[in-house]
């Protein structure tokens, strides 16, 4: 998915498993575990299908309350958090 000035995708060393209502992300290299709540789980599942942030917001709009602008802000914060924790990777195309 295009995001800011690059392409983001789940890190290759991260595996995701549904566990009851949550989605557990396991970083196989670092041996760390993270869980996503219902909101985070939908973001994770849809971002592999979305082409960019607008498309992702559109896909999630039916599931979440609030206007598109606030959904966009919340989803952006989740993606930034996942990037910071290296659960998502970003590749910036060469100029």
């Amino acid at each position: 998915m295009r995001y800011q000035n690059g392409e983001i995708a789940p890190s290759g060393n991260v595996t995701a498993r549904p566990v009851k209502d949550d989605l557990v992300l396991v970083d196989l290299n670092r041996g760390e575990y993270f869980s996503l709540n219902d909101t985070g789980r939908h973001v994770w599942e849809e971002l592999s299908l979305a082409s960019d942030l607008d498309d992702l917001v559109e896909r999630l709009a039916g599931r979440f309350e609030g206007d598109r602008e606030s959904i966009r802000r919340d989803v952006g914060a989740i993606i930034d958090d996942l990037l910071e924790r290296r659960l998502l990777t970003r590749q910036v195309p060469p100029r």
């Binding site: 498993r17 566990v19 949550d22 557990v24």
Partner: protein
């Protein structure tokens, strides 16, 4: 039970692990695998054994072992057979099983002839003691340190000695019944493995009264995956183990179980604890 002996080498079979040793370890004898290369080689350091690569070896209480194209264990010259056996049971065997793709959970196991309940928790949380205290209520302790969880959500145990503190053993002796004490704190039982369904997993914590509460999925997964032996470097094996844990949390109750820490309190509430666990098993 006598160890199979070939010349000066003893041959043992522990679950799937075949062991060749020049020490007599008090493990079950191998039965017909002669000629097959052993999975684990135990050699006495005094017999001229030398590790090929000490930097990659793992220190244990009674010696060290090395995983490098095989499993090699070298006891300290002063280590007793009991300490060596404990190293093999507590560390080498679960590591071997984990490396070969099994999901191995640090837990004790009890059953009443049907589904099992698994007790997990940090060391000293009372896994073995709780399991043994339940024997007066018709439960049978099947494992006190680890067991294999299969993808069908069955538990496999290896039988074998239960290890409990000396004071606990003495207090529970009337309960433990027919087993004989070996050393100060080992209850020795006939070696018998069982495979049975899993009714529930209980994470033990200290509490003044017996109480269980369900744990949210992600927290339960986190607790269980921390209790797994996971040394494999193969990504697919790790993923398989994660799958089993996720499935276990998804399909079986995982509860936090509060039990008294003091033995006399625990034996006093064993009936109440048994009734609580009854609802998890078929």
């Amino acid at each position: 039970m006598e160890a199979r002996r070939s010349g000066r080498v003893f041959e043992y079979l522990l679950g799937d692990l075949s062991i060749s040793s020049d020490l007599e370890l008090g493990l079950p004898a191998a039965d017909g695998n002669a000629g097959e290369p052993p999975d684990l080689i135990v050699r006495n350091a005094e017999e001229g054994w030398s590790m090929r690569n000490h930097s990659g070896s793992i220190r244990l209480a009674g010696g060290e072992y090395l995983l490098e194209g095989g499993i090699f264990y070298r006891p300290e010259p002063s280590a007793s057979d009991r300490l060596i056996t404990r190293d093999i049971l507590d560390a080498v065997l679960p590591e071997y099983l984990s490396i070969t793709g099994r999901t191995v959970l640090h837990c004790s196991v009890v059953d009443k002839g049907g589904d099992a309940v698994l007790f997990t928790g940090i060391s000293g949380s009372g896994k073995s003691t709780t399991a043994l205290a339940l024997e007066a209520q018709g439960w049978r302790a099947r494992a006190d340190d680890f067991a294999i969880i299969t993808s069908e959500l069955e538990v496999e145990t290896f039988g074998g000695p239960l290890r409990i503190r000396d004071d606990v053993y003495r207090a529970l002796r009337p309960v433990a019944g027919d087993e004989r004490a070996r050393g100060k704190s080992i209850v020795e039982r006939p070696w018998r493995s069982i495979t049975t369904g899993i009714g529930a997993v209980a994470i033990l914590e200290q509490g003044n009264e017996v109480l269980s509460e369900e744990i949210p999925g992600a927290e339960a997964f986190d607790q269980l995956i921390r209790g797994c032996f996971r040394r494999s470097q193969e990504e697919q094996l790790l993923k398989d183990q994660i799958d089993v844990m996720a499935k276990l949390v998804d399909l079986r109750p995982v509860v936090r179980l509060f039990v008294p820490r003091r033995l006399e309190d625990l034996t006093g509430v064993a009936g109440q604890l048994s009734s609580l666990l009854d609802r998890f098993v078929r």
